[in-house]
């Protein structure tokens, strides 16, 4: 009995990790951007663009790393577009983010159709065009050890490199943010850009760097969807993950450690939803699939509506910096 429970639990947690990864990458991407004072609701669009770029190049070259590079490239390009609109031209950051989402949704479908003629999707990727799961050392040997064995060999081992990258990015982001000069300046520019400016540091360049960091991470997140988690790009495959990541970011109060927990929670709900589809719940009976699919979104609304206490964003987020002397 216990064995089965444990096994089910490990399976759910295993898919939790897989489902959390793109959220976590996008969430950390948003963290860099928003900590610098640039609100980014274009996470979704950047992920989608990256997923398409990675899928297309992965298919054409049969090389996962080139696919990843292409995905990151597309995402950085979109990020720079957002930067140009909101940093250089001091435009409205929400409008620019929305525009990027539309641009990505439309362009990926259009290019996908005209290049591959499969209704906006890429053809299935060859094996080399995808990131393969990695067996950690001794995974097979310890499998039989009770409790710890399955946890190690099923839960921790057997993910692709991007998953490990995503979770390694959490402490790395924390270290960058709180232990380096760049991090100090990044946090400062999101709170009071004038303080950074008068300290002799370029606000514009600093924010561009943050936006590029955001682009890189979004690129990895999007690539993960098309060339690691699945094998190929599907139209609109991000399915709102960029927005969930944004919600997780607020939920996490813009802190890397919290971001990981928030993304794991959302991933867990997703995993539970998939697991419980079509199953009867004792005492309740048949629950419609849609309910479980809606669960993460309902939770997001409830949590954001007030269960997390006051989430105070970086003070200057969303405000274009204008050198102004009165």
């Amino acid at each position: 009995m216990f064995e089965t429970y444990l096994h089910t639990m490990i399976l759910i947690l295993d898919s939790t990790v897989r489902l959390s990864t793109p959220l976590l990458l996008a969430c950390l991407a948003g963290l860099y951007s928003e900590r610098s004072g640039i609100v980014d609701i274009g996470l979704e669009g950047k992920m989608l663009g990256a997923a398409f770029g990675a899928g297309a190049v992965g298919y054409m070259t049969g090389n996962a790393w080139l696919g990843l590079l292409a995905g990151i490239g597309v995402s950085i390009f979109l990020a720079l577009l957002h930067g140009f609109a909101s940093i250089t031209n001091r435009g409205n950051q929400i409008v620019s983010g929305v525009a990027i989402n539309f641009l990505a949704a439309g362009l990926t479908a259009l290019l996908g159709q005209s290049w591959f003629r499969q209704g906006g999707r890429t053809p299935p990727l060859p094996k080399e065009g995808r990131f393969q799961d990695i067996e950690l050392p001794f995974a097979e040997q310890v499998e039989t050890v009770p409790v710890i064995g399955p946890i190690y060999s099923e839960l921790l081992s057997g993910h692709n490199i991007l998953v490990y990258l995503a979770f390694a990015a959490v402490p790395l982001t924390w270290w960058i943010l709180f232990r380096t000069r760049f991090g100090l300046r990044l946090r400062a520019v999101g709170e009071n850009p004038a303080a950074v400016d008068t300290a002799g540091i370029s606000v514009v360049w600093l924010r561009y760097r943050a936006v590029i960091a955001c682009g890189i991470l979004c690129g990895v997140a999007g690539s993960y969807l098309s060339i690691a988690q699945s094998s190929g790009f599907i139209k609109d495959m991000t399915a709102g993950r960029g927005f969930i990541a944004l919600a997780a970011l607020i939920f996490a109060k813009w802190k890397p450690g919290n971001a990981m927990l928030a993304c794991l929670l959302f991933g867990f709900l997703d995993a539970v939803a998939i697991r419980l589809q079509g199953q009867e719940i004792p005492g309740i009976g048949d629950v419609p699939v849609q309910f479980f699919q809606a669960l993460p979104y309902i939770l997001t609304v409830i949590l954001l509506a007030g269960f997390i206490g006051k989430a105070i964003p970086p003070k200057a987020s969303g405000v274009p910096y204008l050198k102004e002397r009165t």
Binding site: R179, N192, T198, G200, K315
Partner: protein, 508 residues
């Protein structure tokens, strides 16, 4: 000795506005040099050029005798110039230490820079008596200490020249005194201090030399010891100003405002106004003096209906108003003919993104004179605004201009015009001349006296003791939420000072 700073024929224009015209300035090393002028005289522009915010169109800058070009703040910092801005350039949720090192961290990793900075702060603390806890969060510190952090920031970067832009605007008198002591220490250690202000008293108290700016020009430089307040005031505005307000003795009549047993508790649950009772008669100005933060603001806001009282009653023109009632609010107090010039015109007095004419009736928009209940009578409102602009000499005379584009003095006149022209029985006035230049101060004071002589009651709250003494017919001193004494306006200044500090209070 080579001067610390020498400016030669500096020119700077913004579009049609010639903000700095042919400015020459010599600042001696190891001195405190004041630059005084009305708002908009070009002081801040000049300092911004020195700190690399703007580049001069023409002219030379010499630092310690060497010609330099200051392209940005970074260059200014490397030349040993530090600046304490009027609005602090600090990150609220950073510690003091983090704020100090920002931009001068030393290496890519923070740890080394931070520990070095900690040692350096300790040294600066000992050398200049600048005590601040390096681990305190900026947001938790009072403004006086925040300013000290700004000074530390400059010194940490090796500043030899320190520019302070209107440093006392946000300080209490005690904090300002402390600042002056620090500046003296800095000077004695050989630093050069440039003090930008429009307060004559500060110039006289602290500077060695003073330069006067007027409408973009440097009109005079004097040794402070060889000049006087009247002299400087005249140079600033270009004509003789009466610092003493000309007024006849008051002729108080019936009581128009009676406050009885007023208590106010703020949102933190702290009792900020304690059992305050007083009255104001028609035809007199009652001044409330006190160090800022002793309950004056809350008292004013409660009487204006913005804040609710926990206990207390008020009579306006004989009509009883129970301030504890829920239906007492700003609108209902206005209907009782209570005018209010709030202390903070930006936060409460104006919507700065509105046009001038819209602000001219703000809070009176339901008045049948301006609205039929559905639509505003825009033409009529503009007419009213034009009349007020003319009567109060509000410049530029354009009711369509965005209010943010008026200078502080003119903004204040907009508020004052709105309140006075509605013909109030009682006018509550808070800090009427804060951040206002001398010309406008004189005008505002005259208007208030005229209103008094027209038989209105005025309650004046100001942290500027000089202002209270010049305007009020009776002075009430508030300390720690209570009224601790009443004095005549010509009472001994040190006696008033002691009352304000809570010493020798005859509190009930």
């Amino acid at each position: 000795m080579t001067p610390a700073i020498e400016l030669r024929k500096i020119n700077k224009s913004f579009g049609p506005v010639h903000a700095n015209k042919e400015i020459d300035l010599v600042v001696e090393k190891g001195s405190i040099h004041g630059i005084i002028g009305e708002n908009g005289a070009g002081k801040s522009t000049l300092m911004s050029i020195l700190y690399g915010f703007y580049q001069a169109d023409r002219g030379d800058i010499l630092i310690s005798g060497e010609e330099v070009s200051i392209a940005d703040s970074k260059t200014a910092i490397s030349l040993g110039i530090g600046m304490v801005h009027q609005h602090f350039m600090l990150v609220d949720n950073f510690s003091v230490l983090e704020n100090v090192v920002l931009g001068a961290e030393g290496s890519a990793r923070l740890a080394g820079g931070l520990s070095k900075a900690r040692k350096e702060l300790k040294r600066l603390e000992d050398d200049y008596e600048l005590r601040v806890d390096p681990d305190a969060l900026i947001g938790d510190l009072p403004v006086g200490l925040q300013q000290r952090v700004e000074i530390l920031k400059a010194l940490f970067r090796g500043a030899e020249i320190l520019i302070l832009d209107e440093p006392t605007g946000v300080l209490t008198p005690a904090e300002a005194d402390h600042l002056f002591k620090i500046l003296e220490v800095l000077r004695d250690e050989g630093k050069t201090v440039l003090l930008i202000t429009h307060k004559l008293r500060e110039i006289m108290a602290i500077t060695d030399t003073v330069s006067v700016m007027r409408r973009g020009e440097m009109v005079a430089t004097r040794k402070t010891a060889e000049t006087s307040m009247e002299d400087l005031a005249e140079l600033m505005v270009g004509r003789r100003v009466l610092l003493q307000v000309d007024k006849k003795p008051a002729q108080p009549k019936e009581k128009v405002l009676v406050v009885d047993g007023l208590n106010v508790v703020d949102s933190r649950g702290v009792k900020v106004v304690k059992n305050v009772s007083f009255d104001v008669r028609a035809g007199e100005i009652v001044g409330i003096a006190g160090v800022s933060g002793n309950g004056q603001s809350e008292l004013l806001e409660t009487l204006a209906g913005i804040r609710s009282a926990s206990k207390g009653t008020v009579w306006i023109d004989g009509e009883l108003i129970d301030l504890e009632k829920r239906d007492v609010n700003a609108a209902s107090m206005r209907q009782k003919n209570m005018g209010h010039v709030p202390e903070d015109r930006h936060r409460m007095g104006l919507v700065t993104s509105f046009a001038e004419y819209e602000n001219a009736i703000l809070g009176h928009h339901n008045d049948p004179r301006y609205s039929n209940g559905m639509l505003l009578d825009v033409a009529g409102i503009k007419e009213t605004a034009r009349m007020e602009i003319e009567k109060y000499d509000i410049r530029p005379p354009n009711p369509l201009l965005k209010t943010a584009n008026f200078s502080g003095g003119n903004q204040q006149k907009i508020v004052l015009a709105r309140e006075i022209e509605r013909d109030p029985t009682v006018l509550l006035v808070g800090q009427p001349t804060r951040g206002v230049d001398i010309g406008a101060i004189e005008f505002i004071h005259k208007r208030l006296i005229e209103l008094r002589d027209a038989g209105k009651g005025i309650l004046l709250v100001s942290v500027e003791l000089d202002e209270i003494r010049a305007l009020a017919d009776r002075v009430l001193v508030m300390f720690d939420g209570s009224i601790v004494g009443e004095r005549a306006p010509d009472a001994d200044e040190s006696e008033l000072g002691l009352l304000m500090a809570g010493v020798h209070g005859e509190a009930k």
